[in-house]
Protein backbone atom coordinates (compact mmCIF):
# COMPACT_ATOMS: atom_id res chain seq x y z
CA UNK A 1 0.00 0.00 0.00
CA UNK A 2 1.23 3.49 -0.79
CA UNK A 3 1.24 5.49 2.38
CA UNK A 4 2.20 8.77 0.70
CA UNK A 5 -0.18 11.44 1.99
CA UNK A 6 -2.70 12.80 -0.53
CA UNK A 7 -2.68 16.53 -1.30
CA UNK A 8 -5.29 18.38 0.71
CA UNK A 9 -8.46 19.70 -0.94
CA UNK A 10 -8.79 23.42 -1.64
CA UNK A 11 -11.26 24.14 1.21
CA UNK A 12 -9.45 23.65 4.52
CA UNK A 13 -12.62 23.57 6.66
CA UNK A 14 -14.09 20.79 4.59
CA UNK A 15 -10.73 19.12 4.70
CA UNK A 16 -10.54 19.37 8.44
CA UNK A 17 -14.04 18.04 8.84
CA UNK A 18 -13.41 15.20 6.47
CA UNK A 19 -10.13 14.43 8.12
CA UNK A 20 -11.78 14.36 11.51
CA UNK A 21 -14.41 11.93 10.28
CA UNK A 22 -11.79 9.92 8.48
CA UNK A 23 -9.65 9.69 11.59
CA UNK A 24 -12.57 8.54 13.68
CA UNK A 25 -13.46 5.90 11.12
CA UNK A 26 -9.85 4.79 10.96
CA UNK A 27 -9.64 4.50 14.73
CA UNK A 28 -12.77 2.36 14.81
CA UNK A 29 -11.55 0.32 11.85
CA UNK A 30 -8.23 -0.41 13.50
CA UNK A 31 -9.83 -1.74 16.68
CA UNK A 32 -12.43 -4.24 15.44
CA UNK A 33 -12.88 -7.65 17.03
CA UNK A 34 -11.36 -9.36 14.02
CA UNK A 35 -8.41 -11.46 15.36
CA UNK A 36 -5.83 -9.92 13.06
CA UNK A 37 -3.40 -7.03 13.51
CA UNK A 38 -4.70 -3.50 12.78
CA UNK A 39 -4.87 -2.87 9.06
CA UNK A 40 -2.12 -0.70 7.61
CA UNK A 41 -4.56 1.54 5.75
CA UNK A 42 -6.30 2.55 8.98
CA UNK A 43 -2.99 3.20 10.70
CA UNK A 44 -1.78 5.25 7.74
CA UNK A 45 -4.90 7.43 7.86
CA UNK A 46 -4.35 8.06 11.54
CA UNK A 47 -0.70 8.97 11.02
CA UNK A 48 -1.69 11.34 8.28
CA UNK A 49 -4.24 12.95 10.56
CA UNK A 50 -1.68 13.52 13.28
CA UNK A 51 1.24 14.54 11.09
CA UNK A 52 -0.48 16.48 8.34
CA UNK A 53 -3.07 18.45 10.25
CA UNK A 54 -3.19 20.56 13.35
CA UNK A 55 -6.50 19.16 14.42
CA UNK A 56 -7.01 18.15 17.98
CA UNK A 57 -6.06 14.60 18.92
CA UNK A 58 -8.32 14.58 21.97
CA UNK A 59 -11.23 12.88 20.23
CA UNK A 60 -8.92 10.34 18.64
CA UNK A 61 -7.35 9.54 22.02
CA UNK A 62 -10.81 9.26 23.59
CA UNK A 63 -11.98 6.75 20.96
CA UNK A 64 -8.93 4.57 21.48
CA UNK A 65 -9.14 4.84 25.27
CA UNK A 66 -12.78 3.79 25.12
CA UNK A 67 -11.83 0.73 23.11
CA UNK A 68 -9.41 -0.39 25.83
CA UNK A 69 -12.40 -0.75 28.15
CA UNK A 70 -13.80 -3.57 26.01
CA UNK A 71 -14.08 -7.07 27.47
CA UNK A 72 -12.54 -8.66 24.39
CA UNK A 73 -8.80 -9.13 24.47
CA UNK A 74 -8.70 -8.69 20.67
CA UNK A 75 -10.24 -5.22 20.77
CA UNK A 76 -8.16 -4.12 23.75
CA UNK A 77 -4.90 -5.40 22.30
CA UNK A 78 -5.58 -3.76 18.93
CA UNK A 79 -6.39 -0.46 20.61
CA UNK A 80 -3.11 -0.57 22.53
CA UNK A 81 -1.20 -1.42 19.37
CA UNK A 82 -2.84 1.48 17.55
CA UNK A 83 -1.88 3.88 20.32
CA UNK A 84 1.69 2.57 20.32
CA UNK A 85 1.90 2.88 16.56
CA UNK A 86 0.81 6.50 16.73
CA UNK A 87 3.35 7.19 19.47
CA UNK A 88 6.14 5.73 17.37
CA UNK A 89 5.29 7.03 13.92
CA UNK A 90 3.23 10.07 14.76
CA UNK A 91 4.42 13.48 15.73
CA UNK A 92 5.13 14.25 19.38
CA UNK A 93 1.90 16.13 19.83
CA UNK A 94 0.08 12.83 20.20
CA UNK A 95 2.29 11.46 22.98
CA UNK A 96 2.33 14.93 24.52
CA UNK A 97 -1.43 14.82 24.78
CA UNK A 98 -1.37 11.32 26.28
CA UNK A 99 1.23 12.43 28.83
CA UNK A 100 -1.01 15.31 29.86
CA UNK A 101 -3.96 13.06 30.69
CA UNK A 102 -4.57 12.21 34.34
CA UNK A 103 -4.70 8.53 33.66
CA UNK A 104 -4.06 6.51 30.57
CA UNK A 105 -4.73 2.77 30.66
CA UNK A 106 -6.05 1.05 33.76
CA UNK A 107 -5.67 -2.52 32.62
CA UNK A 108 -3.67 -3.96 35.51
CA UNK A 109 -6.61 -6.29 36.32
CA UNK A 110 -7.70 -7.09 32.80
CA UNK A 111 -8.72 -10.68 32.14
CA UNK A 112 -10.70 -12.15 29.26
CA UNK A 113 -12.02 -15.55 30.29
CA UNK A 114 -14.37 -15.94 27.33
CA UNK A 115 -11.86 -17.73 25.12
CA UNK A 116 -8.95 -20.08 25.81
CA UNK A 117 -6.19 -17.81 24.61
CA UNK A 118 -7.78 -14.97 26.58
CA UNK A 119 -5.88 -15.97 29.72
CA UNK A 120 -2.48 -15.83 28.04
CA UNK A 121 -3.17 -12.75 26.00
CA UNK A 122 -4.62 -10.94 29.01
CA UNK A 123 -1.24 -11.25 30.78
CA UNK A 124 0.48 -9.64 27.82
CA UNK A 125 -2.16 -6.93 27.66
CA UNK A 126 -1.48 -6.04 31.29
CA UNK A 127 2.26 -5.81 30.66
CA UNK A 128 1.86 -3.94 27.37
CA UNK A 129 -0.47 -1.35 28.87
CA UNK A 130 1.98 -0.83 31.72
CA UNK A 131 4.74 -0.17 29.22
CA UNK A 132 2.63 2.38 27.34
CA UNK A 133 1.80 4.09 30.62
CA UNK A 134 5.52 4.25 31.49
CA UNK A 135 6.30 5.59 28.04
CA UNK A 136 3.80 8.40 28.52
CA UNK A 137 5.02 9.07 32.05
CA UNK A 138 8.61 9.24 30.85
CA UNK A 139 7.58 11.85 28.33
CA UNK A 140 5.95 13.83 31.11
CA UNK A 141 9.00 13.59 33.37
CA UNK A 142 11.69 14.51 30.86
CA UNK A 143 9.55 16.47 28.39
CA UNK A 144 10.74 14.52 25.38
CA UNK A 145 10.41 11.14 23.75
CA UNK A 146 13.72 9.48 24.54
CA UNK A 147 13.36 7.12 21.58
CA UNK A 148 13.36 10.06 19.20
CA UNK A 149 16.16 12.22 20.62
CA UNK A 150 19.28 12.87 18.64
CA UNK A 151 22.00 10.28 19.18
CA UNK A 152 25.74 10.35 18.66
CA UNK A 153 28.67 12.25 20.10
CA UNK A 154 26.75 15.51 19.90
CA UNK A 155 23.47 13.89 20.82
CA UNK A 156 21.21 14.68 23.73
CA UNK A 157 22.38 11.95 26.09
CA UNK A 158 26.10 12.46 25.38
CA UNK A 159 25.99 16.18 26.06
CA UNK A 160 23.63 16.22 29.01
CA UNK A 161 24.93 17.75 32.25
CA UNK A 162 25.41 15.68 35.38
CA UNK A 163 22.28 16.76 37.19
CA UNK A 164 19.96 16.08 34.25
CA UNK A 165 21.75 12.83 33.57
CA UNK A 166 21.16 11.57 37.10
CA UNK A 167 17.49 12.49 36.74
CA UNK A 168 16.99 11.09 33.25
CA UNK A 169 18.76 7.76 33.46
CA UNK A 170 16.49 6.33 36.17
CA UNK A 171 13.47 7.32 34.05
CA UNK A 172 14.94 5.44 31.09
CA UNK A 173 15.69 2.47 33.36
CA UNK A 174 12.06 2.31 34.46
CA UNK A 175 10.74 2.51 30.92
CA UNK A 176 13.16 -0.16 29.77
CA UNK A 177 12.18 -2.39 32.67
CA UNK A 178 8.54 -2.15 31.66
CA UNK A 179 9.46 -2.96 28.06
CA UNK A 180 11.59 -5.97 28.95
CA UNK A 181 8.90 -7.09 31.35
CA UNK A 182 6.74 -7.94 28.34
CA UNK A 183 8.81 -11.09 28.57
CA UNK A 184 7.42 -13.03 25.65
CA UNK A 185 8.94 -16.29 24.44
CA UNK A 186 9.18 -17.09 20.73
CA UNK A 187 6.57 -19.84 21.07
CA UNK A 188 4.09 -17.37 22.56
CA UNK A 189 4.02 -15.16 19.45
CA UNK A 190 1.16 -17.26 18.14
CA UNK A 191 -0.95 -14.66 16.34
CA UNK A 192 -0.60 -11.51 14.30
CA UNK A 193 -1.80 -9.24 17.09
CA UNK A 194 0.85 -10.07 19.67
CA UNK A 195 3.42 -10.20 16.89
CA UNK A 196 2.54 -6.65 15.89
CA UNK A 197 2.92 -5.52 19.49
CA UNK A 198 6.30 -7.24 19.74
CA UNK A 199 7.56 -5.55 16.59
CA UNK A 200 6.71 -2.13 17.97
CA UNK A 201 8.39 -3.03 21.25
CA UNK A 202 11.48 -4.18 19.41
CA UNK A 203 11.65 -0.91 17.53
CA UNK A 204 11.36 1.03 20.78
CA UNK A 205 13.90 -1.18 22.55
CA UNK A 206 16.70 -0.43 20.10
CA UNK A 207 16.28 3.30 20.42
CA UNK A 208 15.66 3.24 24.13
CA UNK A 209 18.74 1.16 24.84
CA UNK A 210 20.85 3.25 22.50
CA UNK A 211 19.92 6.38 24.43
CA UNK A 212 20.49 4.53 27.70
CA UNK A 213 23.93 3.38 26.59
CA UNK A 214 24.93 6.87 25.54
CA UNK A 215 23.76 8.22 28.86
CA UNK A 216 25.93 5.70 30.68
CA UNK A 217 28.95 6.64 28.58
CA UNK A 218 28.39 10.27 29.48
CA UNK A 219 27.99 9.31 33.13
CA UNK A 220 31.30 7.45 33.20
CA UNK A 221 33.01 10.35 31.50
CA UNK A 222 31.81 12.74 34.16
CA UNK A 223 32.34 10.35 37.07
CA UNK A 224 35.62 11.73 38.35
CA UNK A 225 34.29 15.27 38.43
CA UNK A 226 31.26 14.40 40.53
CA UNK A 227 30.58 14.96 44.18
CA UNK A 228 30.65 11.98 46.50
CA UNK A 229 26.88 11.51 46.67
CA UNK A 230 26.67 11.79 42.89
CA UNK A 231 29.37 9.12 42.61
CA UNK A 232 27.34 6.76 44.74
CA UNK A 233 24.24 7.42 42.66
CA UNK A 234 26.17 6.94 39.44
CA UNK A 235 27.62 3.66 40.60
CA UNK A 236 24.15 2.41 41.46
CA UNK A 237 22.85 3.46 38.04
CA UNK A 238 25.77 1.76 36.35
CA UNK A 239 25.31 -1.52 38.19
CA UNK A 240 21.62 -1.53 37.21
CA UNK A 241 22.62 -0.78 33.63
CA UNK A 242 24.65 -3.98 33.51
CA UNK A 243 21.66 -5.97 34.75
CA UNK A 244 19.49 -4.47 32.04
CA UNK A 245 22.14 -5.25 29.46
CA UNK A 246 21.82 -8.94 30.22
CA UNK A 247 18.04 -8.82 30.01
CA UNK A 248 18.16 -6.87 26.76
CA UNK A 249 20.45 -9.53 25.28
CA UNK A 250 17.79 -12.12 26.13
CA UNK A 251 15.13 -9.94 24.54
CA UNK A 252 17.16 -9.75 21.35
CA UNK A 253 17.40 -13.53 21.27
CA UNK A 254 13.62 -13.63 21.03
CA UNK A 255 13.67 -11.00 18.29
CA UNK A 256 16.27 -12.78 16.18
CA UNK A 257 14.05 -15.84 15.98
CA UNK A 258 11.39 -13.85 14.15
CA UNK A 259 11.56 -14.35 10.42
CA UNK A 260 10.78 -10.72 9.76
CA UNK A 261 13.79 -9.51 11.71
CA UNK A 262 17.33 -10.33 10.69
CA UNK A 263 19.51 -9.30 13.59
CA UNK A 264 21.40 -12.50 14.30
CA UNK A 265 24.80 -10.87 13.94
CA UNK A 266 23.83 -7.89 16.03
CA UNK A 267 22.29 -10.11 18.68
CA UNK A 268 25.46 -12.22 18.94
CA UNK A 269 27.66 -9.14 19.15
CA UNK A 270 25.44 -7.64 21.82
CA UNK A 271 25.45 -10.83 23.87
CA UNK A 272 29.23 -10.96 23.72
CA UNK A 273 29.62 -7.32 24.71
CA UNK A 274 27.20 -7.67 27.61
CA UNK A 275 29.23 -10.63 28.90
CA UNK A 276 32.41 -8.61 28.67
CA UNK A 277 30.78 -5.76 30.53
CA UNK A 278 29.82 -7.97 33.49
CA UNK A 279 33.41 -8.10 34.63
CA UNK A 280 33.64 -4.38 34.41
CA UNK A 281 31.35 -3.51 37.27
CA UNK A 282 33.86 -4.64 39.88
CA UNK A 283 36.48 -2.25 38.58
CA UNK A 284 34.16 0.69 38.90
CA UNK A 285 32.92 -0.44 42.30
CA UNK A 286 36.46 -0.86 43.62
CA UNK A 287 37.72 2.31 42.01
CA UNK A 288 34.84 4.22 43.44
CA UNK A 289 35.51 2.85 46.89
CA UNK A 290 39.19 3.68 46.69
CA UNK A 291 38.60 7.17 45.39
CA UNK A 292 35.97 8.05 47.95
CA UNK A 293 38.22 6.70 50.71
CA UNK A 294 41.12 8.85 49.50
CA UNK A 295 39.04 11.95 49.02
CA UNK A 296 37.07 11.89 52.27
CA UNK A 297 39.08 11.13 55.40
CA UNK A 298 37.41 8.42 57.42
CA UNK A 299 36.89 8.38 61.15
CA UNK A 300 39.21 5.67 62.52
CA UNK A 301 37.44 2.41 63.11
CA UNK A 302 34.40 3.43 61.07
CA UNK A 303 33.18 1.01 58.44
CA UNK A 304 33.42 1.84 54.87
CA UNK A 305 30.08 1.10 53.21
Amino acid sequence: RDWTPQPPPSCSAEYDASMGICASKAALGATTDEPTEPEPKHLADLIQYINETNMSVVRLANILSEKTRSNSWVVVFKALITVHHLMVYGKERFIRHLASRNSLFTLHNFLDKSVTEGYTMSAFIRRYSRYLNEKSLAYRLIASDITKVKRGADGVMRTMNTKDLLNTLPVIQTQLDALLNFNVRPDELTNGIIHAAFMLLFKDSLRLFAAYNEGILNLLDKYFDMRKNQCRESLDIYIKFLERTTKFAQFLKVAEVQKSISIQEFSKTFARRSTQLQGHVFNWATLSLLLTSAVVPRIPGSEIK
Partner: protein
Protein backbone atom coordinates in the same frame (compact mmCIF):
# COMPACT_ATOMS: atom_id res chain seq x y z
CA UNK B 1 67.66 9.61 109.47
CA UNK B 2 64.20 8.21 109.80
CA UNK B 3 62.91 10.70 107.31
CA UNK B 4 65.62 9.64 104.88
CA UNK B 5 64.56 6.01 105.26
CA UNK B 6 60.96 7.10 104.77
CA UNK B 7 61.82 8.96 101.64
CA UNK B 8 63.78 6.00 100.40
CA UNK B 9 60.88 3.70 101.17
CA UNK B 10 58.49 5.95 99.33
CA UNK B 11 60.74 6.09 96.35
CA UNK B 12 61.15 2.31 96.36
CA UNK B 13 57.40 1.91 96.41
CA UNK B 14 57.07 4.28 93.51
CA UNK B 15 59.77 2.43 91.65
CA UNK B 16 58.03 -0.89 92.16
CA UNK B 17 54.95 0.55 90.56
CA UNK B 18 56.98 1.84 87.69
CA UNK B 19 58.75 -1.47 87.19
CA UNK B 20 55.62 -2.82 85.52
CA UNK B 21 55.75 -0.13 82.88
CA UNK B 22 59.31 1.00 82.54
CA UNK B 23 61.70 -0.91 80.34
CA UNK B 24 64.46 -2.85 82.03
CA UNK B 25 67.27 -0.39 81.39
CA UNK B 26 65.47 2.41 83.11
CA UNK B 27 64.60 0.23 86.08
CA UNK B 28 68.25 -0.67 86.51
CA UNK B 29 69.26 2.96 86.15
CA UNK B 30 66.81 4.14 88.75
CA UNK B 31 67.79 1.32 91.11
CA UNK B 32 71.40 2.47 90.97
CA UNK B 33 70.47 5.06 93.56
CA UNK B 34 70.32 8.31 91.68
CA UNK B 35 68.26 10.79 93.52
CA UNK B 36 64.83 11.20 92.00
CA UNK B 37 64.88 14.96 91.82
CA UNK B 38 67.66 15.14 89.21
CA UNK B 39 65.73 13.14 86.60
CA UNK B 40 62.31 13.90 88.08
CA UNK B 41 61.03 16.16 85.33
CA UNK B 42 62.01 13.84 82.51
CA UNK B 43 60.80 10.83 84.37
CA UNK B 44 57.42 12.31 85.10
CA UNK B 45 57.11 13.30 81.46
CA UNK B 46 57.91 9.77 80.42
CA UNK B 47 55.44 8.34 82.88
CA UNK B 48 52.75 10.66 81.57
CA UNK B 49 53.30 9.49 78.02
CA UNK B 50 53.51 5.88 79.10
CA UNK B 51 50.22 6.03 80.89
CA UNK B 52 48.54 7.49 77.86
CA UNK B 53 50.40 5.51 75.21
CA UNK B 54 51.48 2.26 76.83
CA UNK B 55 54.65 0.89 75.39
CA UNK B 56 54.20 -2.45 73.77
CA UNK B 57 55.35 -4.32 70.73
CA UNK B 58 53.72 -2.78 67.73
CA UNK B 59 53.79 -4.32 64.29
CA UNK B 60 54.75 -1.56 61.99
CA UNK B 61 53.48 -1.43 58.45
CA UNK B 62 56.80 -2.03 56.81
CA UNK B 63 55.48 -3.59 53.58
CA UNK B 64 55.93 -2.02 50.17
CA UNK B 65 53.34 0.55 49.44
CA UNK B 66 52.00 3.38 51.56
CA UNK B 67 54.10 3.26 54.69
CA UNK B 68 55.83 5.35 57.24
CA UNK B 69 59.50 6.06 56.73
CA UNK B 70 61.70 4.30 59.24
CA UNK B 71 62.97 6.55 61.92
CA UNK B 72 66.72 6.78 62.30
CA UNK B 73 68.19 5.30 65.46
CA UNK B 74 68.10 8.08 68.00
CA UNK B 75 71.14 9.21 69.98
CA UNK B 76 71.21 7.93 73.53
CA UNK B 77 70.80 11.32 75.21
CA UNK B 78 67.62 12.10 73.27
CA UNK B 79 66.16 8.67 73.67
CA UNK B 80 63.52 9.69 76.21
CA UNK B 81 61.79 12.29 74.05
CA UNK B 82 62.39 10.26 70.92
CA UNK B 83 60.71 7.29 72.54
CA UNK B 84 57.69 9.42 73.37
CA UNK B 85 57.50 10.80 69.86
CA UNK B 86 57.99 7.34 68.41
CA UNK B 87 55.19 5.90 70.47
CA UNK B 88 52.86 8.71 69.43
CA UNK B 89 53.71 8.17 65.82
CA UNK B 90 53.28 4.44 66.23
CA UNK B 91 49.78 4.94 67.51
CA UNK B 92 48.96 7.14 64.53
CA UNK B 93 50.49 4.53 62.26
CA UNK B 94 48.33 1.85 63.79
CA UNK B 95 45.34 4.10 63.09
CA UNK B 96 46.28 4.49 59.47
CA UNK B 97 46.80 0.75 59.21
CA UNK B 98 43.29 0.23 60.51
CA UNK B 99 41.94 2.63 57.89
CA UNK B 100 43.76 0.79 55.11
CA UNK B 101 42.61 -2.57 56.43
CA UNK B 102 39.03 -1.40 56.39
CA UNK B 103 39.54 -0.20 52.79
CA UNK B 104 40.95 -3.57 51.85
CA UNK B 105 38.25 -5.48 53.66
CA UNK B 106 35.64 -3.54 51.68
CA UNK B 107 37.58 -4.26 48.52
CA UNK B 108 37.90 -7.94 49.42
CA UNK B 109 34.19 -8.13 50.11
CA UNK B 110 33.48 -6.65 46.70
CA UNK B 111 35.93 -9.06 45.10
CA UNK B 112 34.34 -12.05 46.73
CA UNK B 113 30.83 -10.87 45.89
CA UNK B 114 31.66 -10.30 42.24
CA UNK B 115 33.61 -13.52 41.92
CA UNK B 116 30.67 -15.45 43.30
CA UNK B 117 28.23 -13.67 40.97
CA UNK B 118 30.49 -14.30 38.02
CA UNK B 119 30.92 -17.98 38.87
CA UNK B 120 27.19 -18.37 39.02
CA UNK B 121 26.77 -16.73 35.66
CA UNK B 122 29.50 -18.87 34.13
CA UNK B 123 27.57 -21.90 35.13
CA UNK B 124 24.59 -20.59 33.11
CA UNK B 125 26.30 -19.16 30.09
CA UNK B 126 27.28 -21.61 27.37
CA UNK B 127 29.04 -19.30 24.98
CA UNK B 128 32.50 -18.31 25.92
CA UNK B 129 34.35 -15.29 24.70
CA UNK B 130 37.92 -15.20 23.58
CA UNK B 131 40.39 -16.78 26.03
CA UNK B 132 41.09 -14.42 28.91
CA UNK B 133 44.51 -12.96 29.34
CA UNK B 134 46.85 -14.37 31.95
CA UNK B 135 46.61 -13.47 35.61
CA UNK B 136 49.81 -11.41 35.70
CA UNK B 137 48.81 -9.48 32.58
CA UNK B 138 45.42 -8.63 34.03
CA UNK B 139 46.80 -7.74 37.44
CA UNK B 140 49.36 -5.50 35.85
CA UNK B 141 46.74 -3.84 33.75
CA UNK B 142 44.43 -3.34 36.74
CA UNK B 143 47.12 -1.69 38.82
CA UNK B 144 48.31 0.38 35.88
CA UNK B 145 44.76 1.49 35.08
CA UNK B 146 44.10 2.39 38.71
CA UNK B 147 47.30 4.38 38.98
CA UNK B 148 46.62 6.04 35.62
CA UNK B 149 43.20 7.09 36.79
CA UNK B 150 44.60 8.44 40.06
CA UNK B 151 47.17 10.46 38.17
CA UNK B 152 44.53 11.65 35.75
CA UNK B 153 42.34 12.89 38.53
CA UNK B 154 45.28 14.62 40.14
CA UNK B 155 46.11 16.38 36.86
CA UNK B 156 42.48 17.32 36.40
CA UNK B 157 42.38 18.82 39.86
CA UNK B 158 45.53 20.82 39.18
CA UNK B 159 44.24 22.02 35.84
CA UNK B 160 40.77 22.91 36.95
CA UNK B 161 41.40 24.49 40.33
CA UNK B 162 38.96 27.24 40.93
CA UNK B 163 38.91 28.65 44.46
CA UNK B 164 35.32 29.72 44.09
CA UNK B 165 34.00 26.30 43.23
CA UNK B 166 33.65 23.62 45.94
CA UNK B 167 36.04 25.34 48.35
CA UNK B 168 35.70 22.56 50.90
CA UNK B 169 36.22 19.73 48.48
CA UNK B 170 39.34 21.08 46.80
CA UNK B 171 41.58 21.38 49.88
CA UNK B 172 40.48 17.94 51.03
CA UNK B 173 41.31 16.38 47.69
CA UNK B 174 44.65 18.15 47.50
CA UNK B 175 45.44 17.14 51.04
CA UNK B 176 44.57 13.56 50.19
CA UNK B 177 47.02 13.59 47.36
CA UNK B 178 49.73 15.20 49.44
CA UNK B 179 49.30 13.33 52.70
CA UNK B 180 51.49 10.39 53.66
CA UNK B 181 48.41 8.19 53.50
CA UNK B 182 48.25 8.54 49.77
CA UNK B 183 50.64 7.08 47.33
CA UNK B 184 51.16 6.86 43.63
CA UNK B 185 51.04 3.11 43.97
CA UNK B 186 47.57 1.54 43.81
CA UNK B 187 45.97 0.86 47.15
CA UNK B 188 44.68 -2.42 45.83
CA UNK B 189 47.80 -4.44 45.30
CA UNK B 190 47.97 -6.69 42.26
CA UNK B 191 47.98 -9.77 44.38
CA UNK B 192 44.55 -8.94 45.74
CA UNK B 193 42.72 -8.27 42.41
CA UNK B 194 40.42 -10.78 40.84
CA UNK B 195 41.89 -12.84 38.06
CA UNK B 196 38.96 -12.25 35.70
CA UNK B 197 38.97 -8.44 35.86
CA UNK B 198 39.27 -6.39 32.76
CA UNK B 199 40.81 -2.95 32.69
CA UNK B 200 38.52 -0.08 33.48
CA UNK B 201 39.19 1.57 30.17
CA UNK B 202 38.26 -1.59 28.27
CA UNK B 203 34.75 -1.38 29.71
CA UNK B 204 34.30 2.09 28.30
CA UNK B 205 35.51 0.83 24.93
CA UNK B 206 32.93 -1.95 25.09
CA UNK B 207 30.21 0.61 25.68
CA UNK B 208 31.40 2.75 22.80
CA UNK B 209 31.44 -0.20 20.45
CA UNK B 210 28.02 -1.17 21.69
CA UNK B 211 26.80 2.31 20.92
CA UNK B 212 28.12 2.07 17.38
CA UNK B 213 26.48 -1.31 16.85
CA UNK B 214 23.18 -0.04 18.17
CA UNK B 215 23.24 2.96 15.87
CA UNK B 216 23.99 0.73 12.91
CA UNK B 217 21.13 -1.57 13.85
CA UNK B 218 18.75 1.36 14.14
CA UNK B 219 19.78 2.77 10.78
CA UNK B 220 19.38 -0.62 9.18
CA UNK B 221 15.99 -1.02 10.75
CA UNK B 222 14.87 2.40 9.57
CA UNK B 223 16.04 1.80 6.05
CA UNK B 224 14.16 -1.46 5.93
CA UNK B 225 17.20 -3.71 5.55
CA UNK B 226 15.99 -5.75 8.46
CA UNK B 227 12.72 -6.26 6.57
CA UNK B 228 10.72 -5.33 9.60
CA UNK B 229 7.08 -4.96 8.86
CA UNK B 230 4.03 -4.69 10.93
CA UNK B 231 2.35 -7.45 9.04
CA UNK B 232 4.07 -10.70 8.31
CA UNK B 233 4.00 -11.48 4.56
Amino acid sequence: MASQWQNLGASVRRRSLLEEELPEEEVIRSAAGQPETSSGALGSLCRRFQRRLPLRAVSLNLRAGPSWKRLETPEPEKQGLQAAARSAKTALGAMSQRIQESCQSGTKWLVETQVKARRRKRGVQKDSSSPPPSLTQKNTRVSRAASDLQEREHHRLCARVDPRVHPRRRPRREAAFQSPYSSTEPLCSPSESDSDLEPVGAGIQHLQKLSQKLNKAIMAEESGDMTISLIRH
